[in-house]
């Protein structure tokens, strides 16, 4: 305790070190601020669209007098609201869509319209707390700790200090520890304030703090091992920055490239094209080409499944669904491929404390690949409910009554 106080006073007088810690504090405040602003904007986008959602739909429905027309024009908002921890790790929310307006048409092209770029893997994401803690903070720690011993050696004070302290531990442990603690607090305090403002759960904030401190401790160990070498401060700094580049940037980038090459994933745009073609072709094909695969899935409509007129809504929506059925293999491959890449990335992250930390924070924030795919699945489940609601209307074709449409399923964003 006394040793920590001594080193804290000593640190306070070390302008260079204080500067790095203040910089960490400013960066953390900025990252937290950006994160909060971003999730607020996302929530506002959702709220604004949600306010119009029911009205727009009622408006669209009121213009029609047939079930099929009403379904055609009725859009339903689906969305994944940011968790109260998402401000700390925006993760995939940056690139993967978290908001859709879906209707009764083929679903998969509607889901994947927004992500045709297939941007699951951004190299460096937005500047959020996770990026700061995972990638930038280790560099600050290196700047704070690399020359602890070497600097004193160069100044001719090393042996004097150790002789005074009795053992090296009694000097270096508190000296490095205070710097470590100072940096960790500078990073975590703005984050804690952000977590309180956002109302993030105590458990998640605690787990995130432990993750950040744990990964910094791993970096501390690396710095301690390298810093023990009898080399000049600039040489140690160069070596450590090299290690940082490797572990924080190059290995994750190489792993990403390797995984993308090793685990093929169909392009999101392919789903779009395939489905559009399927739907467009259906117009010219015999009705049976649509109704047979549809009725195989929905035997309950077999009795009412004959299409007699050139155009019937039940046929039209059947071929929308068949479009989804035809896309199933590629959609499954796309989904499985992304999950496989994500699993592989999880293993590769074991090579990089930075990647591991970032993934951990994204997991806590619900902004990782799995969470985004879970959202897609919620959209699919909702769309299935929409179909289940509409099919009796299309097949039985009772007299049109808009009141029935008050019973349309509502999208529930809760996971």
């Amino acid at each position: 305790m006394n040793a920590l106080l001594r080193e804290a006073r000593f640190l306070a007088k070390d302008r260079g070190a204080v500067l790095w810690i203040v910089l960490a504090l400013l960066l953390s405040a900025a990252a937290t601020g950006f994160g909060i602003a971003e999730v607020r904007e996302q929530r506002q986008t959702i709220a604004a669209l949600l306010a119009e959602d029911a009205k727009d739909r009622a408006n669209a429905i009121s213009k029609h007098d047939a079930w099929g027309d009403a379904a055609y024009d009725a859009f339903h908002l689906t969305y994944a609201p940011p968790s109260d921890f998402a401000f700390a790790a925006l993760g995939q929310r940056d690139t993967a869509p978290w908001l859709h307006r879906v209707r009764m048409l083929s679903l998969e092209s509607q889901i994947h319209e927004a992500d045709t770029a297939n941007a699951d893997f951004g190299l460096i994401g937005r500047f959020d707390f996770a990026f700061l803690a995972a990638a930038v903070a280790p560099l600050l720690l290196i700047l704070l700790l690399h020359d602890l011993r070497a600097g004193e050696r160069v100044a001719g004070r090393h042996d004097w200090l150790v002789a005074s302290a009795g053992t090296p531990r009694r000097l270096w442990l508190p000296r490095a520890g205070v710097r470590f603690g100072g940096l960790a607090l500078a990073l975590l305090v703005p984050f804690w304030i952000g977590a309180a403002i956002e109302g993030a759960g105590f458990g998640a904030a605690l787990a995130a703090s432990a993750l950040v401190v744990g990964s910094l401790a791993a970096w501390w160990a690396i710095i301690a091992v390298v810093g023990r070498r009898n080399a000049s401060p600039p040489a140690l700094l160069a070596a450590l920055v090299g290690i940082w580049l490797m572990l924080a940037l190059l290995i994750p980038a190489a792993a990403r490239a390797g995984i993308e090459a090793a685990v093929p994933v169909p392009d999101g745009a392919e789903i779009l094209m395939l489905q559009r073609d399927a739907v467009n072709d259906a117009w010219d094909k015999p009705k049976a080409a649509t109704m047979t695969p549809f009725l195989a899935r929905h035997p309950e409509w077999r009795a009412l499944g004959t299409v007699e007129k050139p155009f019937e809504w039940k046929w039209y929506y059947a071929f929308q669904q068949v479009g989804d059925q035809q896309a199933e293999p590629i959609v499954t491959a796309y989904r499985q491929g992304r999950l496989a890449r994500d699993r592989a990335a999880g293993w590769a992250a074991l090579l990089s404390p930075a990647a591991l930390t970032e993934r951990g924070l994204e997991r806590l924030a619900g902004t990782d690949t799995r969470a985004m795919i879970a959202y897609e699945d919620r959209v699919r489940a909702f769309h299935a409910r929409l179909r289940a609601f509409h099919y009796p209307l299309f097949f039985r074709d009772p007299p049109y009554d808009p009141v029935v449409l008050d019973g349309l399923p509502r999208y529930d964003p809760a996971p």
């Binding site: 001594r6 001719g156 004070r157 004097w160 302290a165």
Partner: protein, 240 residues
């Protein structure tokens, strides 16, 4: 009586070369021993070995009868060390520097005691609150000597303690060392200064090329080692 400091057939290798070769001496409690020698003779190496920073390749070093290798910490706790080219922190003032080093050594010292030690080495009062980067070489050395005094240990290992001091300060320093010895402290001091060594030491050891090649005791010379004799021995050996 157990010697406070003892080197027994000490051999120390640095970078594959024997820097100390079969060096033996013993320093009694309350004795002032000056180790004299040219550049690269192995003087600083001797002190670093007593402090446990270098390990004997053969032979042994003992502090208060105990091998340093057995308990470095215990040895260091008994020793106040003044390194050659002692540089305290330039961005701290004298009080802060002394406070830091003393705290590191587990000692709490009052401001009055700091001032008393700084008075003893005649560091100007107005300078004490200034950052040490503005100090002259001698002022820095004085502050480092004050630190050694404040450690209040039974043993002092001093590496060229008078370097940078003006003649008056050197005389005052010698008086201080003798007072410490009179109070029972054991002093091993390394120097190039033949005259100073003869003036202050009870015994002078002459180190050359890592070997102890001469030893001169005040008791043998009627209380005062003869500077001429030592200087001649030093010069002869250096020429050899």
């Amino acid at each position: 009586m157990t010697p406070t400091l003892e080197a027994r057939s000490l051999v120390v290798m640095r970078d594959g070369a024997a820097v100390l070769n079969d060096v033996s001496f013993a320093i009694a409690p309350g004795e002032v021993f000056a180790l004299l020698g040219g550049n690269g003779a192995g003087k600083s190496t001797t002190l670093l070995t007593f402090l446990g920073f270098l390990q004997p390749t053969a032979g042994d070093v003992l502090v208060a009868g105990r091998s340093v290798g057995d308990d470095v910490e215990a040895a260091r706790a008994k020793i106040a060390y003044l390194p050659e080219a002692a540089s305290l922190y330039g961005h701290l003032n004298a009080y802060e520097n002394l406070g830091y080093f003393l705290d590191l050594a587990g000692r709490k010292v009052s401001r009055a005691a700091l001032d008393a030690a700084l008075d003893q080495v005649a560091l100007p009062t107005e300078a004490r609150q200034r950052r040490m980067q503005s100090y002259s070489k001698g002022m820095r050395q004085k502050t480092a000597i004050a630190l050694a005094l404040l450690r209040d240990t039974p043993i002092l290992l001093l590496d060229e303690p008078t370097s940078g001091l003006d003649p008056v300060a050197i005389d005052e320093f010698h008086a201080m060392v003798q007072a410490l010895a009179a109070a029972g402290r054991t002093v091993l001091m390394v120097t190039h200064d033949v005259y100073g060594a003869c003036q202050v030491a009870d015994r002078v050891g002459l180190l050359r090329g890592g070997r102890l090649v001469g030893s001169f005791a005040a008791s043998d010379a009627g209380g005062r080692i003869d500077t001429e004799t030592v200087h001649a021995a030093f010069a002869a050996r250096e020429a050899a």
